[in-house]
């Protein structure tokens, strides 16, 4: 195999994958592009531990029950002669669920034989981000990714979009579940009986336009946001599952991007979403994000155009989009064009060093320490994806300190010199190779490999 293949193998495993496991580079090197393309076949892999995890419906129903029990206990405690009893709230109850979900996802990332698909799951999950700073998301973030994102990443964007916007996690996170049209039956009844007006919440509608589909500069107006928010009234949650509630829905036709939607009920919002999925601005927005993730912070316009064209020509089928990405020469031209996010960094370290990944909180602790706790981007925009968002001095020092701890913990139980070639291959510099060879100890050699410039990037 030539020099180019060795570099291409490093790009395939690090940039498209989640970092090479020992031995992986050698298997990939004969045909790096073929290795990626082959991963697209066979449907989206479910989590190995997925069967042990609960559905969001079950989690939400139990949480509601917990709240009800607690209310009853509080009422009961006020009665004379009642025995006081403490029942935990859903917040504390969600936490172990979250930990299991993070652990399952993390293990999959560390051991996956189809790391390109795992990266795509993470990419789309971040594109359609929910964040655990809202309590309910803590309970359902993992289930959301397993139910709405994972099964759809190799299908059509339209189906992915609908699965996401109908999922209780998204409807609750972006406040749509209670949003009521100003002329909805519920609002009219409330105002007739003098109760507080339930009203419109435009959060979900705005973020769908700005973040999930068209992109912020696509030229939509506040009237578009309001019109779309009205179409989505009634998209709600009941018994832990998606439920269209006619009582919340704003009657009548609404306008979005110059088009009128007169469909009744649920169909109105669904039709708008289908149109948004096919909108050329959506193709451009998604192509830019994908190219930024897989090619460079400022991706070459030609590559973006190619990806966007693939999206439009195949009606939003995602497989041809991924193929266009793999076939983009720009993706293979410059090794190490992307600075790793903390999650990238942790995944590649666990894969490369075959660190124990199934202990309690193995990955969680590292994510938290390095500044990227799972499903906690803090906003629906998700985690940022450019070097300048992650390459701060303090963040670097934290990686170095973590690497030092890993080195200290492993000591001479890993041969960093051998691993350096095995996991970085064609992108390992002479400088790093020499520094590792001359390290004062096995532990220090591991630290140096984990902190080498070529390990900080993908």
């Amino acid at each position: 195999m030539g020099m180019t293949d060795v570099v291409a193998a490093a790009i395939a495993t690090n940039r498209f994958g989640l970092g090479a496991r020992p031995g992986e580079l050698a298997r990939v090197a004969p045909d790096p592009r073929g290795w990626l393309a082959a991963q697209l076949h066979g449907g989206a892999p479910s989590l190995p531990a997925g069967s042990a995890l609960e559905s969001s419906a079950s989690i939400l129903v139990q949480a509601a029950k917990l709240r009800e029990d607690r209310r009853e206990t509080q009422r009961g405690a006020a009665a004379p002669g009642a025995v006081p009893r403490v029942i935990q709230g859903p917040g504390a109850w969600y936490r172990p669920i979250y930990l299991s979900e993070v652990q399952a996802r993390f293990s999959a990332a560390v051991v996956s034989e189809r790391p390109f698909i795992e990266r795509l799951v993470h990419f789309w999950s971040n594109h359609f981000a929910v964040s655990i700073d809202k309590a309910v998301v803590l309970g359902v973030a993992g289930a959301y990714e397993r139910e709405a994102i994972r099964p759809q990443v190799l299908g059509r964007f339209e189906n992915l979009l609908l699965a996401v916007e109908r999922h209780p996690a998204m409807l609750l996170y972006l406040d749509n579940a209670q949003s009521a049209g100003p002329a909805s039956p519920l609002a009219r009844r409330a105002s007739a009986s003098g109760r507080r007006d339930p009203g419109l919440n435009e959060n979900l509608a705005r973020e769908i336009l700005e973040l999930h589909t068209l992109g912020v500069s696509a030229g939509y107006t506040q009237a578009d946001v309001t019109g779309f928010a009205r179409m989505l009234t009634g998209w709600s949650v009941s018994e832990g599952e998606f439920r269209f509630r006619p009582g919340l829905h704003e009657p009548g036709a609404q306008r979005l991007l110059g088009r009128s939607y007169a469909q009744p009920g649920y169909e109105q919002g669904a039709a708008a979403l289908r149109d948004l999925a096919r909108h050329p601005a959506t193709a451009g927005h998604l192509a830019r994000k994908l190219a930024c993730h897989f090619i460079a912070d400022d991706p070459p316009p030609a590559a973006v155009a190619r990806i966007s064209t693939a999206f439009r020509e195949h009606g939003g089928e995602l497989l041809p989009v991924y193929r266009a990405l793999i076939e983009s020469p720009e993706a293979w031209a410059t090794p190490l064009a992307k600075y790793k996010t903390p999650a990238d960094y942790v995944h590649s370290a666990f894969r490369g060093f075959e660190l124990p990944h199934d202990g309690p909180r193995a990955g969680l602790a590292a994510y938290e320490l390095l500044g990227q706790r799972a499903w906690s981007p803090g906003s629906p925009a998700g985690w940022p994806d450019r070097a300048s968002d992650w390459d701060g001095g303090s963040a670097l020092l934290q990686r170095i300190e973590w690497a030092d701890e890993v080195g200290t913990r492993l000591g001479d139980r890993r041969d960093a010199q051998r691993l350096a070639h095995s996991i970085l291959g064609g992108v390992l510099s002479d400088q790093a190779s020499n520094a590792i060879a001359r390290a004062a100890s096995g532990a220090q050699a591991i630290t140096l490999l984990l902190t080498a410039p070529e390990f900080m990037r993908r």
């Binding site: 009203g199 419109l200 506040q222 968002d389 701060g392 303090s394």
Partner: protein, 410 residues
């Protein structure tokens, strides 16, 4: 103080008009601020609800619009802390209110950046880059302000520090700045660090970042004596305290920037108590810590707190507020000429609202920032108009932001 008989509009007119004739004179008089002056910028990401933080309880439309999340007038249970006949502070802002009474807090209301859409991310970009539109510049206004300061102020290494793992856009640009965040691990041994530094010798980005981080870490380690606090909001407290320690140090950075999140209150925002109240309480306690850590240098410090935009005037259907337009900004510190509300209050009547939904902006946030940077740090007016806030000559700096006789200029 008896504001009851004072007409609201007349009061506001006096408060703002008093400042206006001073434009220009002060800019000249204060062109060269001593290197002792300290400046901090606190970015409240997520769009702080200005009508909750500084409730216009005296506005006849306020209570109607806000319904169950309205803050009651001063004197009532859970009522606002009194500022004047129109405005109060949210009851969770006890330290800010003390500062107001000590004339160390200036409150600006109906403020906005030039951005008029409602995306957090673009709104923050405009607030941070200092231009009139999103993504116009790849550097931030505070870094560019540092870059044009007289060389003497920058001769001692990093002139600024960002409290966070990474540099926010506000602090990116030509001037060297450090970043710092709390680190929980034991110190590395020096030999390993030396080898890593050598490994980065040919990598300009990583070598620069490592040098920054090591320098900042030394300072912070020396400053935190009372151990980390682990309760909710501890990070904010720790970071605000660290900012005070950085700025309070002799020969330390002149400028600090802090990031806070958690202001996006679409649902269950609460009134006197609740989500936003708790969040404001943590911020308020952190600012008190910052003052304590600054020690004597508080008297030569100006802290500006700002957010990307405000929230809807009316409460929404989920007891919160949606993305809006104008909001508040605070200017706090021992050097501030405080005890004033800077506002040309547009009112909250249906006709007065921007696009029938938001508080109408009547004051450009850049006016406040320009006033503070010009008067306090001595950034020349022409640089403020062209480089720090490009094409902003039409936005006149707010005047008399800092005390004419503050310690920073004797």
């Amino acid at each position: 103080m008896n504001y009851d008989t004072l007409d609201r509009r007349r009061f506001l007119a006096t408060a703002t008009a008093a400042a206006l004739p001073l434009v220009g004179r002060l800019a000249v008089a204060r062109a060269a601020a001593p290197p002792d002056a300290r400046f901090a910028f606190v970015l409240l990401r997520g769009a702080l609800d200005g009508l909750a933080a500084v409730p216009p309880w005296g506005d006849p439309d306020y209570r109607r619009l806000r319904g169950e999340i309205a803050i009651a007038p001063p004197g009532e249970p859970g009522g606002a802390l009194p500022l004047d006949a129109t405005f109060g502070l949210h009851p969770a802002l006890a330290f800010l209110h003390e500062s107001w009474r000590a004339r160390e807090l200036l409150v600006a209301h109906a403020v906005a950046t030039p951005y008029r859409e409602r995306s957090h991310f673009d709104g923050q970009d405009v607030l941070e880059n200092g231009a009139a539109r999103p993504h116009a510049l790849a550097s931030g206004w505070l870094n560019r302000a540092l870059a044009v300061l007289p060389a003497v102020a920058r001769s001692r290494g990093d002139a600024g520090v960002a409290l966070g793992q990474n540099l926010p856009l506000t602090m990116r640009g030509p001037a060297p700045v450090a970043s710092w965040s709390p680190s929980r691990l034991a110190a590395l041994d020096d030999d390993t660090l030396d080898r890593i530094a050598e490994l980065y010798a040919d990598d300009p980005l990583l070598s620069r970042r490592l040098a920054d981080a090591l320098m900042a870490d030394d300072v912070a380690r020396a400053a935190s004596m009372d151990g980390p606090q682990r309760r909710a909001g501890a990070r904010d407290l720790e970071v605000l305290r660290a900012a005070g320690a950085f700025l309070g140090r002799d020969g330390g950075p002149q400028v600090a920037m802090l990031d806070t999140i958690g202001w996006d209150t679409h649902a269950n925002e609460g009134g006197a108590q609740g989500r936003l109240g708790a969040r404001l309480g943590v911020l308020d306690a952190g600012l008190r810590e910052m003052k304590r850590a600054l020690g004597a240098r508080w008297s030569s410090t100006v802290v500006v707190l700002a957010t990307e935009f405000g929230r809807t005037a009316a409460v929404n259907g989920t007891r919160g507020t949606d993305h809006g337009t104008a909001t508040v900004a605070f200017v706090l510190g021992g050097a501030v000429q405080g005890g004033r509300v800077l506002a040309d209050w547009p009112g909250l009547s249906a006709r007065a609202l921007y696009q029938q939904r938001d508080l109408t902006p009547t004051l450009d946030l850049r006016a406040i920032l320009k006033g503070a940077l010009g008067e306090h740090l001595g950034v020349p007016a022409v640089r403020l108009d062209t480089e720090v806030f490009p094409d902003s000559a039409a936005v006149r700096p707010a005047t008399a932001v800092v005390r004419a006789t503050s310690d920073s200029r004797v």
